[in-house]
Amino acid sequence: MIQELGIIDTKKIISAIQEYHNFDFSNYSLTTFKRRILKVVNQLGFLNIADFISNLNDIQLFEKIINEITIDTTEMFRDPPVWRELRDKYLPELYKNRDFKIWFPEISSGDEIFSLAIVLKEIGLLNNTKILVTGLSNKKINLIKNGGVFDIKKMEISEANYKRYSGKFQLSNYYKLQNNKIIFNSDLIKGIVFKQQNLINDKSPGNFRMIIYRNKLLYFNISLQDKVVTKILNSLMPGGLLFIGNKETLESTSVYNKFSELNPLEKIYKKRVI
């Protein structure tokens, strides 16, 4: 088992991926990037890093890296107050606009999509909402489309979060158990549009009233955070809302003054009208 990835090898890996797959990891947070790469190296049983690097032209290996780098270990209803605010305040407000569009960029797990779908369903707005989900990993998008497929162990945490959110029922009303896996009712997401997309390079869709992008900026350095937040800003309608993780901040980005902070604790921002 290889336990450490030096800085020179890390740079070699980044430039090989850049060269073979035209994907730039150079502005990713270093510690997490190294951990994810080491995980792939060890899972596939490479005996040394040089071997791994010389195989990086392989498309399957690249897909495996993308799968591992898109962190999917969050929870449903993580930070219950955020979902309560959505239910009690922001979604009813949006509904005054009749139909509205919400975007989940860079999705790697179904946790927040099913959370939002359940919130919308319980307040009777699921059919009035257009939701776009984009993500880097096709494999993970397909998993979500098929009902999420969650680990049973993880579901205890999500159930507890749902209780703190004070949902109408129990989370188990929305899923079934199949081969020891949790599979959510696909009716919840039948109106959702899923698309494979590279947020950084591809052209972004526009005119959203709400963008939910929680705990994703963590994996980028400040310069890439700036680039991504600028893109997101341009995809929001004036007055539109941006949700980020409660330990993330827009303060270091160049577009910070384009937002006003609605909830400093839960990191809910509004795009200024002028």
């Binding site: 270093l30 510690t31 270990t73 945490i157 703190r164 963590l218 993780g245 330990k247």
Partner: protein, 186 residues
């Protein structure tokens, strides 16, 4: 100066020890102090406030990519791993829990050892889980100084004995000795 940072890991039974240590660090303390303590993941508030009561230095749960400053106490936030990055920055992560822990003491220590090498002090306090033992070994392997709270004094000694089993630690100290040592770095 010999050292650039102090990192302290602990879980069950470490709260009072940490409080006592923080109470004795003076306002002009020249190093950043990182705390990675196991905590209830859904209780996000109250911990910083509790630690701040007696501390003379500011205690905060950093935001992702915060710039590290001397004389500040950084507490790993609930439900995030806390890493020390090259370039004097903190980063947070929602990667999977390690040893059922997020924040994981191992992961904080591994990243700090990588960044600070022989310029850090790693301290493991009372705790009910072996998380931290491997991280402390990485600190030692990178040339850093390693301290373990004397298991005789610990409310729960799993964490300290696991650390001592894995690493030839530099010092086994009582709380008062840890405080004396940290004050000498001043």
């Amino acid at each position: 100066m010999l050292y650039k940072a102090v990192m302290i890991g602990g879980s069950a039974g470490s709260f009072q020890v940490v409080t006592k240590i923080l109470a004795s660090l003076p306002k002009n303390y020249p190093l950043p102090v990182f705390l990675c303590l196991h905590r209830l993941k859904h209780v996000r508030s109250g911990f910083v406030e509790a630690l701040s009561i007696k501390a003379q230095l500011p205690v905060e749960e950093p935001n992702d990519k915060d710039h590290i400053k001397a004389g500040k106490i950084y507490l790993a936030p609930a439900n995030y791993h806390m890493y020390i990055e090259l370039g004097n920055k903190i980063s947070l992560s929602t990667e999977e829990p390690i040893n059922h822990s997020r924040p994981s003491i191992d992961l904080s220590f591994i990243s700090a050892a990588y960044t600070y090498k022989n310029k850090m002090v790693g301290i493991i306090l009372s705790g009910a889980n072996k998380d931290g033992a491997y991280g402390l070994k990485k600190v030692k392997d990178s040339g850093g100084l390693t301290i373990v709270q004397d298991p005789k004094e610990c409310q729960v000694k799993t964490m300290t004995t696991a650390s001592m089993k894995l690493t030839q630690v530099d010092h086994v100290f009582s709380t008062n000795q840890i405080i004396d040592f940290l004050l000498k770095l001043n």
